[in-house]
């Protein structure tokens, strides 16, 4: 196995809204807000990620998406990432 760079842009393949707080080890803010989750079709494969940038129930299959990267967790173990809408 070797690392392969994936495209940062793709299209939304499917999505849903998480409307209740997931069980541990979920690490979200104390005040739970529903969030969107989806698979983004990048061509070589489809990756699962949280979706952000607009209302959780406002997504459409096929819309253009792009990767966004946030801060590392408190121990610096991993970076958080999500996908948001991209200009078509």
């Amino acid at each position: 196995m070797s690392p392969t760079a994936l495209p940062r842009r793709g299209t939304l393949w499917s999505w849903t809204v998480q409307r209740s707080r997931p069980k541990p080890p979920y690490q979200g803010p104390d005040e739970f807000e529903p969030f969107a989750v989806g698979y983004i079709d990048l061509g070589p494969l489809r990756v699962e990620a949280r979706l952000a940038g607009k209302a959780a129930e406002a997504w459409t299959i096929g819309e253009p998406m792009q990767l966004a990267i946030g801060e590392a967790d408190t121990e610096g173990n991993h970076w958080s990432y999500w996908f948001e809408g991209a200009p078509s």
Binding site: T16, K23, V37, G38, L45, D73, H78
Partner: protein
């Protein structure tokens, strides 16, 4: 060698003040009583449970006869695996009489999952992606999109399940709801509302299997197990807890298991009179109808809206209300499906009896991470 079912036993599904293993014991004793056999007649047993202990420990109450008793676990497919194991014991000549049993008692609410158990990193769950109900929603939304199906069908399927549950004494959910009420209930994961999901529950189920020539001497309404086939997933299937998917989705394990079962039985989906399909949520039944070969992908709307899947329809499906009305005690669920088919074929299903003397039946249990066991049964 042919195998037949000579006894079935259920502990009702729902919420009860007894332990999971007690429910397994009740089911096993009822199955033996139904067969007119004693525990000492059983030459091999197999059973499983997720949360209620070791199945083989039931020998403490059933009797310390020294019988070989194999414990099995395959997630939601555990009941199917117990039956497969018991069937193989008869086919191999190990014994003429075998018992398969499953039972469980789960905590309320959706199952939690530990990432390490699935070979996944902690961040997958920490981000809120490791939720089973999300998977069902993501899968059915894409399926509806690909096949031009209306999300309304999901409410119709759940309404049928609750309608059948309302006339099934052992079911947990006994109150019928209209498709409108189901569609307008709170969303769990869009497009699936709370009434479209099954919930973890409690219950027990057992069957007694016997070599067919002996079975026919024992009772003239023994149900022959024409086929039982178990398959795991191939590369590219869309299963629960996948951080990524292949660019082309392959058909699921159910397609392989159903095809193999029909081939072994020598009949096709069009010959089946009654079926029980895995309906973890309403979308699962919708997809499994096509995966098992009962219609083409995208043709489900006609079957559902015309009432063909109702008790009085051309292909009654989930006649006891399925998982949606019974909930899911993991160890017992797959055996409940088989038991419902047996009582339908024997004409003792009461208010939910399929009219016109059904002769053939089919069951399909599906579980994480991509397993399926299908059976074909006949009188």
């Amino acid at each position: 060698m042919s195998v037949s079912i000579v006894g079935v036993g259920l502990h009702p599904f729902g919420r009860f003040d007894v332990s999971g293993r007690t429910m397994g014991l009740v089911a096993a004793n009822r199955a033996l009583e139904d067969a007119g056999l004693a525990w000492s007649d059983v030459g091999f047993a197999a059973g499983g449970s997720r949360d209620s202990g070791h199945a083989d420990a039931l020998v403490s109450e059933l009797g310390l006869t020294g019988v070989p008793f194999v414990g099995v676990y395959n997630g939601c497919g555990t009941g199917g695996s117990a039956m497969l194991t018991a069937t193989h014991a008869i086919e191999s000549g190990t014994t003429d009489v075998a018992l398969a049993v499953g039972f469980d008692k789960h905590a309320r609410g959706a199952f939690g999952s530990n990432p390490a158990d699935y070979g996944l990193p902690d961040w997958y769950a920490e981000q809120g992606l490791m939720v089973t109900t999300q998977f069902f929603a993501l899968k059915i939304r894409r399926y509806l999109h690909d096949h031009g199906l209306d999300a309304r069908l999901l409410a119709e399927i759940a309404a049928k399940a609750l309608r059948n549950g309302s006339i099934t004494p052992h079911a947990w959910r006994r109150k019928p709801l209209s498709a409108d009420e189901i569609a307008s209930a709170p969303m769990v994961n869009d497009p699936l509302t709370s009434y479209m999901f099954c919930s973890p529950s409690e219950g027990g189920a057992a069957v007694v299997l016997m070599e067919t020539s002996r079975a026919r001497q024992l009772r003239n309404d023994a149900v022959e197990l024409k086929a039982i086939e178990f398959r795991t997933r191939r590369f590219g299937t869309f299963e629960v807890f996948n951080p990524w998917l292949a660019s082309e989705v392959t058909h699921g394990a159910t397609v392989d298991a159903a095809r193999a079962a029909f081939e072994a039985a020598g009949i096709g989906p069009g010959d089946i009179d009654v079926a029980q399909l895995q309906d973890t949520e309403a979308g699962a039944e919708l997809m499994h109808l096509a995966e098992c070969g009962f219609c083409e992908h995208g043709e489900q709307g006609r079957l559902i809206l015309d009432g063909q899947l109702d008790v009085g329809g051309s292909l009654p499906v989930n006649t006891d209300g399925g998982l949606i009305a019974n909930g899911e005690p993991i160890g017992a669920s797959g055996l409940r499906q088989v038991i419902e088919c047996v009582v339908q074929l024997q004409g003792r299903a009461g208010d939910r009896q399929v009219p016109g003397t059904p002769r053939t039946a089919f069951t399909q249990v599906y579980g994480a991470p991509g397993i399926s066991t299908c059976t074909v049964l006949a009188r």
